[in-house]
Symmetry: D2
Amino acid sequence: MKEKIPVGILGATGLVGQEFVRLLGDHPFFRIEFLSASSSSSGRLYRDVVRWKMGEPLPPEIGEIKLIETDPEAILKTGVRVVFSALPSDVALHVEGALREGGMLIFSNSSAYRMSPDVPILIPEVNHEHLSLVKLQRGNYRGAIITNSNCAVSGLVMALKPLYDEFGIREVTVSTYQSISGAGLSGLPAMDIASNLIPFIPGEEEKIERETRKILGELKNLKINPAPLKIHASCCRVPVRRGHLESVVVKLDGRPSPEDIKASLSSFKGLPQTLNLPTSPLRPLEVMEEEDRPQPVMDVFSGYPERAKGMTVTLGRLRYDGEVLKFFLLVNNTVRGAAGTSVLNAELALAEGLLEF
Amino acid sequence: MKEKIPVGILGATGLVGQEFVRLLGDHPFFRIEFLSASSSSSGRLYRDVVRWKMGEPLPPEIGEIKLIETDPEAILKTGVRVVFSALPSDVALHVEGALREGGMLIFSNSSAYRMSPDVPILIPEVNHEHLSLVKLQRGNYRGAIITNSNCAVSGLVMALKPLYDEFGIREVTVSTYQSISGAGLSGLPAMDIASNLIPFIPGEEEKIERETRKILGELKNLKINPAPLKIHASCCRVPVRRGHLESVVVKLDGRPSPEDIKASLSSFKGLPQTLNLPTSPLRPLEVMEEEDRPQPVMDVFSGYPERAKGMTVTLGRLRYDGEVLKFFLLVNNTVRGAAGTSVLNAELALAEGLLEF
Amino acid sequence: MKEKIPVGILGATGLVGQEFVRLLGDHPFFRIEFLSASSSSSGRLYRDVVRWKMGEPLPPEIGEIKLIETDPEAILKTGVRVVFSALPSDVALHVEGALREGGMLIFSNSSAYRMSPDVPILIPEVNHEHLSLVKLQRGNYRGAIITNSNCAVSGLVMALKPLYDEFGIREVTVSTYQSISGAGLSGLPAMDIASNLIPFIPGEEEKIERETRKILGELKNLKINPAPLKIHASCCRVPVRRGHLESVVVKLDGRPSPEDIKASLSSFKGLPQTLNLPTSPLRPLEVMEEEDRPQPVMDVFSGYPERAKGMTVTLGRLRYDGEVLKFFLLVNNTVRGAAGTSVLNAELALAEGLLEF
Amino acid sequence: MKEKIPVGILGATGLVGQEFVRLLGDHPFFRIEFLSASSSSSGRLYRDVVRWKMGEPLPPEIGEIKLIETDPEAILKTGVRVVFSALPSDVALHVEGALREGGMLIFSNSSAYRMSPDVPILIPEVNHEHLSLVKLQRGNYRGAIITNSNCAVSGLVMALKPLYDEFGIREVTVSTYQSISGAGLSGLPAMDIASNLIPFIPGEEEKIERETRKILGELKNLKINPAPLKIHASCCRVPVRRGHLESVVVKLDGRPSPEDIKASLSSFKGLPQTLNLPTSPLRPLEVMEEEDRPQPVMDVFSGYPERAKGMTVTLGRLRYDGEVLKFFLLVNNTVRGAAGTSVLNAELALAEGLLEF
């Protein structure tokens, strides 16, 4: 058996950082070499700093790791070449940029570089071919940044992809029901959201509109042409712990039958399924038949093995009148919408030979 | 001072029934003469049966009222001519029909007769002229039924009305965030909704689509022609106690400026405001300027006097790109969406001379 | 490998019934032979009737089981000798009694027979010797009933047992924080408990006081003498999905050191651990060191393998001033507090040779 | 009519600060002259800084007040002599001390000076005579500090007072169910408490034990001798917005009848009721007869006029076996437990002539 590739996790104490720790703590290809946090925590043991919120115990040996500061110099000194970033965008802008200059490959959940023309927003089932933008970056820097999308976008774009390819899409209207975990460990005071709704998430609607078009965009000569569909997004925070529900209304170009639509969604597969990557779910999309599903409490966290720990997007309530297609979807925002897709991106990059330094 | 008109409340122990009691317990024109409940409670005191959930105390003298059975014969014997109905639809179909035959005027929150061609779904600010359908009914029966709309419809149609009249509307897409009180006192088990979302409310989407078209419809020769706009509705239950939030996307016919739209909504008034009816709010619509409002906890129950105890619909986050108008609205589902509008309907009917028997 | 023992589950569609299905669906000693439900559901497939709320999928082959009616005659006809009962108490009184007459061994979560002198309330780690009461029953009936305790009692009595044996207990004061799942699938309307507290659970305080004394009681000549300690219980429902938290204040007879107390709790083991029964946790009690644990969201459902799927009771915040011992405990109310302990009881009964008919 | 006394509010943007604004915005004796906040907000309008969470609208003229910095020099320059403090304890230690030196009378919700021998923890219904400690302070400083108690203490001590005086109390065991508003506007991240319980509130149990003894203590020669009763407190945060529920178990010295106990609690009145102070409730304690009350959603916020906007403590579920008295109580933590009692303290001080400078 080959030796595992050493990796680092930037911003390891937050909620997405913890998901990275959970997913990489026992990964067949990668092993955690270092964890970074803000300067106030550096030098302390991970277990003494982290407010661990995962449903599984913190692996004891990872709890013993001494945190290093999220400082490019300190990070580059580790000699590690692959990092996963759960940094906030303002910090990421500087740190990820410096690490790329220093030759690192960064799989980032941050939005800082998502809209850069040479940076892919990668969801392997949807746009694996965008990974080749890395070549463009490597022309200018020693390293490269590969991002995953905004958490609400990840579910939406996966559901849209097969419809877009098979029937064409003119217009998408989406209203979101986003859980509090989307605001991170401490991002949302309880008094704001307890038994309440907040119909505003800063920057979210813009991200949904432009990231979706980029991800569905066509790559030509190492340039992405955004997909020409209209997207109208309205975002709302709801008092639910995990999982973003989305009410989606789609106008298709073609006029398929309801059965065609369902078959298109249910049978959707991508390169991760073909390559059988460790973090890929058997089925990227699952169309539920029950009249009142998907529901966060039952469908986000489930022990259902075929949903691969939160990587499957569940859909339900498909309604199609020949003109307008309506459905609800549910995405595990910290797994498929964040750390999980970043890990899948790294597995794809490894399979494509990009991790041979 | 004129003597108050005696009224009865059908289904007085449920949540909407309690709102009727609260609103009519100290009303300038009406006084509660009887309260009805199911046969198992009849003969008992209201205060011993009701699980009172209002934020104000049950008036002691109303607590002492002995419940009568929701039985047409017993109700007709009371001699009362005006009743407010909070009955479930299946019961309402029989009881309200029989009471109408018996000469009563029924202000009903039930959906049983809403779609009958001769029954108005009345929201006085929006379609007061539909009240004349009562003439049609009185041609066939001794009494008449006047309904208010579904709770989610009430907020939506009030926001649409000024836009529809001033600019024309082609298409409306709405996703709802409906509170648990919408399911009544005992309609929803806690295990179903606690920290969860349920993207399905039986019959609700159909009601939104067809009631909205009827209410906005044109009355000609005592016949309502449904408004020719398309409506796409998706309904979801959320773990919030009171207030239905709605994410609304509207395609207008015209191309007004954003200022025109805001002015149209903010200045909207109707006949109840002109007549200064007791239950009418100063402003039917309030457009909030804050970037994250309206919110149920702050805007549904508020002691804000100009919101008249839940009769004002609050709107916020108006976004208009010249083509698509997006906003959120919040409606107090048990007041404006149910008992409050029924009481307003009775006040209008009184002003129009329909309560002179 | 020996053949598995066929068993039935009474009341299989409720929350505790579902836990039984989950725990017995893949059990090394037992296999589900039949599932019963009320007459309105009998004849239908389990998957078509059950509102499945478990975190793991319903095993497809169990979904295909056709429900039989919870009728003694029908049940006795199956030929099965061992049943698990999740029946409500009023139904259990008749059905369990009739099945016992018919020769069945019933492992029951119902409270109907708990206080009968010849019926054990069995928690194998605490009072395995009470199982011998079965002999007493078999003198009078062909079968026997073995109950588990009330859900709040199960956590309390496990924490008290080592303290009682080692140091003596004079008095216990307990205030509970009981989750909504304790009221079953539909037992509690959302409007009652959403963002609210209900300081009353019918019958619960009495159960805590008398069941605890019985379980800790001494068995002499097949008669249980209740333990002579005082118990003051106050019960409250809280808006949490799973897990009952309890604030416990104990007055000990002796004056051990804080270290003695902690050691007594942490090292507590019972017969199920010695026998290595499949459903027994490695550690019945886990004393958490963190200053703010246990917490339902993290400690009830956890994938922590040593907690054996909800069979470990977690304790925290031990405070001892030499006179009064205070701590919080958390128990998984549907597993350790209900179905899990019943299954453990059956495993113990099997080990003791009671299942050889 | 006499001119109103100008007052300032320190820390006016937080939750307790907002309660002060609400209670003093339309007060018969006081008028708000200035509002202070941290340096980052000073110079800005109150309405632009505050995240207003009250159920009533912010009075427009108060919204227009320009915030000053919470700096002793700036505050003393205002010339105002009476301030209400909602400062965090660490800030209060310095600021309130300096203002006292400067001659101000400070009605403080902070815990910084509560345990100073010359500072009263004043709850006018319980220990109005402690107000004379102000003389002691004025011997040493130009001004004085008068505190109200910890929020959980306020409800407890009011319920204990009549029992203590009439029957004697040996021992009190209390477990709390404290709402998220107790942690302030932003003190508790939603991910920590949503659908969860946290059985730890830093410092709270110690405060309950020592503040209760001080408040019930006897004043002799300007020295308070703490009441000699034992108190065992266990504190837990629960996912409820407003109101602290407490499960209280009391051992009395005497052996009154249950009727005596109820009468003692129900008829409890104090000096504020005699003086008819504006913020005093008609009944400081209300014993509810329903089997499942008090409940936060219905009893904390209620429009019940006799509960005076949150100043009445509601009790329920009195259970007495001749030896141990058990009950639940509910206190509005931001009104009776914080700003409301401070305002009542100022009204009492005014009545006692302490506000004549």
